[in-house]
């Protein structure tokens, strides 16, 4: 069972102006991913762009692997043209995903923008109650809102401009939850993936309140399987590879 395999595009549906839901079916036997792991997806077979693109998986169904992606540059623009039936090479599942919450902790899951993809795979697996927070700039950029409702756990949706859900950011909601729970003596554990500014704010809040958790990070990478050393991030234990030791790191180990 090789982690380098061919997959067929089952569908590539636009969810909004920027984002698509891509469904791929492996054509060979493939390993099952763990929440927080990612795949390197080939965006074209000319050498421009040259490299595959890393995406956390969103959902794993019995036959397919699904991804949520937003069009941000050359690579994702090409992905938007993926046609049903097209065959592409992918590598995965890669990296180290989210550890399960330990006994006695209530998980707070935060997905900012497309970061919800990585968080969703974990949310689907949780067997006990949890909080799931998803935020975006505006209604148009929210993702998987209906899927979030179907999950076990209490979900909160917010937008910066108030066009859907609560007006405000996931960090503000997180603060409310943590404050409330500290009165109830509930122990929380944070899991977050999203824009850097969001993660930095969550990390400050977590440090202030003495709460532990995990972030899934993103960095430019060439290979995705530990060889190029391109995706280094600074941690208290020196540089670590997002693709191998990560993408998930304990919050307190990340050096901003």
């Amino acid at each position: 069972m090789s982690r380098y395999f061919r997959a067929k595009v089952v569908s590539n549906l636009p969810l909004n102006k920027k984002s698509n839901l891509l469904t791929l079916r492996p054509l060979e036997r493939a390993k099952n991913p763990e929440p927080g792991q990612f795949y390197m997806i080939e965006v074209g077979n000319s050498y421009d762009p040259l490299l595959k693109r890393p995406f956390s998986y969103f959902r794993k169904t019995s036959e397919d692997i699904q991804f949520l992606y937003a069009v941000r540059g050359k690579g994702t623009l090409l992905m938007k043209d993926f046609m049903e039936g097209e065959i592409i090479n992918i590598i995965g599942p890669l990296g180290t995903g989210y550890p399960k919450p330990s006994r006695g902790y209530i998980a707070v899951l935060i997905g900012g923008g497309t970061g919800i993809a990585s968080i969703f795979s974990l949310a689907e697996r949780l067997t006990k109650n949890a909080y799931i927070l998803h935020g975006a700039k505006c209604r148009e950029e929210l993702l998987a809102v209906n899927e979030l409702k179907s999950l076990k756990g209490e979900s909160f949706i917010c937008t910066d401009d108030g066009s859907f859900g609560e007006k405000g950011t996931t960090v503000e909601i997180l603060e409310e939850i943590l404050t409330q729970n500290s009165r109830l003596k509930t122990q929380n554990l944070i899991y977050a993936c999203g824009p850097r500014a969001m993660l930095e704010a969550v990390s400050k809040l977590a440090a202030d309140k003495g709460i532990k958790g995990y972030f899934s990070l993103v960095e430019y990478m060439a290979c995705g399987f530990g060889a190029c050393l391109g995706c280094a991030v600074k941690t208290v234990h020196g540089y670590k590879r997002v693709c191998k030791e990560g993408p998930v790191f304990p919050i307190e180990e990340i050096v901003w």
Binding site: S2, R3, Y47, L51, Y220, C223, C228, A232
Partner: protein, 303 residues
């Protein structure tokens, strides 16, 4: 069909090697390919002491290529010998260790330690563009290069010595000749080309290191030209490096005069590149009715 090539005293089962810095210490690729199939593995550059590398972002994509400024991150000689070499030794392929230092003494200590451990070859990295003290002084100054190579050559007995040349020179044939005259058994070229990319939205360089080394198909024509020039200047084998993505590219380098090739950036896109290249070369030779691969080395026709 015979794919065997000789580099100095080493007999390679085929001309496909990995390029230093793109193949880790081999382990990262073992789940994708059978490492026994490779002509040789050239491992990530090793220094006497571990190096932590440059701050991120360390890589960025450019048209048909990529820039990297990893900064020679490596685990150092001691851990390499203890943790990585024993693993590589399990395979039936040649192990060549790329080494880098700040002084001739550093290179000599590394070379001697590696010869004691009986590695198959040593590749002198005198051309990393991404660190201030990455040996680049040796790669750009002919006198220094000669002194370094003869210093290392005298300090080791029979271990294969390869010098990896820096592409930023208008007279690569002179550097090639110095490598040969100073006792290098082979030369490999080219290393990445110093380059730069800017994010015009934020007016900042795309790499934290500002500049980096360009690799990938974008540099291949430059590399082919330099391999051709170098191979005409020396009798020692030339190893062609630079944007080899498939067997056609490998054959192009060999026709230009390369005895072997190193696959670098292609490994990142497709971890099976090396074995696909070996298969492709075999197919090509069959199609051309050639039984021995050495018949294509430097076989370029001019008229």
């Amino acid at each position: 069909m015979d794919l065997t090539v000789h580099i100095g005293n080493l007999k390679l089962k085929n001309p496909v090697m990995t390029a230093s810095g793109t193949f880790g210490y081999g382990e990262e690729y073992s789940e994708f390919i059978n490492l026994n199939r490779l002509g040789a593995i050239v491992v990530k550059g090793i220094s006497l002491e571990p190096m932590e590398g440059n701050p991120p972002p360390r890589i960025c994509e450019t048209p048909c290529g990529m820039l990297n400024a990893i900064g020679l991150q490596n685990i150092g000689l001691k851990r390499f010998l203890g943790e990585k070499l024993p693993y590589l030794r399990k395979f039936n392929t040649k192990v060549i260790v790329n080494i880098l230092g700040n002084t001739i003494r550093d290179y000599i200590r590394l070379a001697q330690a590696l010869e004691d451990e009986r590695v198959d070859g040593i590749e002198l990295n005198v051309s990393c563009p991404n660190v201030k003290k990455g040996g680049i002084i040796f790669g750009t100054d002919k006198k220094m290069l000669g002194r370094l190579i003869s210093g290392v050559r005298k300090s080791i007995k029979k271990t294969l010595l390869i010098t990896k040349l820096f592409p930023n020179t208008s007279n690569i044939h002179e550097f090639a000749k110095i490598a040969e005259d100073s006792g290098s058994d082979a030369i490999s070229l080219i290393n990445t080309i110093p380059a730069m990319a800017i994010d015009i939205e934020i007016w900042r360089p795309k790499l934290a290191n500002i500049t980096g080394g360009l690799s990938g198909p974008a540099i291949r024509p430059v590399a082919v030209r330099m391999v051709w020039e170098a191979s005409r200047a020396v009798k020692i084998p030339v190893i062609g490096i630079g944007g080899t993505m498939n067997s056609d590219d490998a054959i192009e380098f060999m026709l230009a005069g390369a005895t072997a090739i190193q696959v670098g950036t292609a490994n990142f896109l497709n971890p099976k590149s090396t074995v696909e290249i070996i298969d492709g070369i075999e197919k090509y030779l069959k199609k051309k009715g050639i039984n021995n691969i050495v018949d294509i080395i430097g076989a370029l026709c001019y008229a």
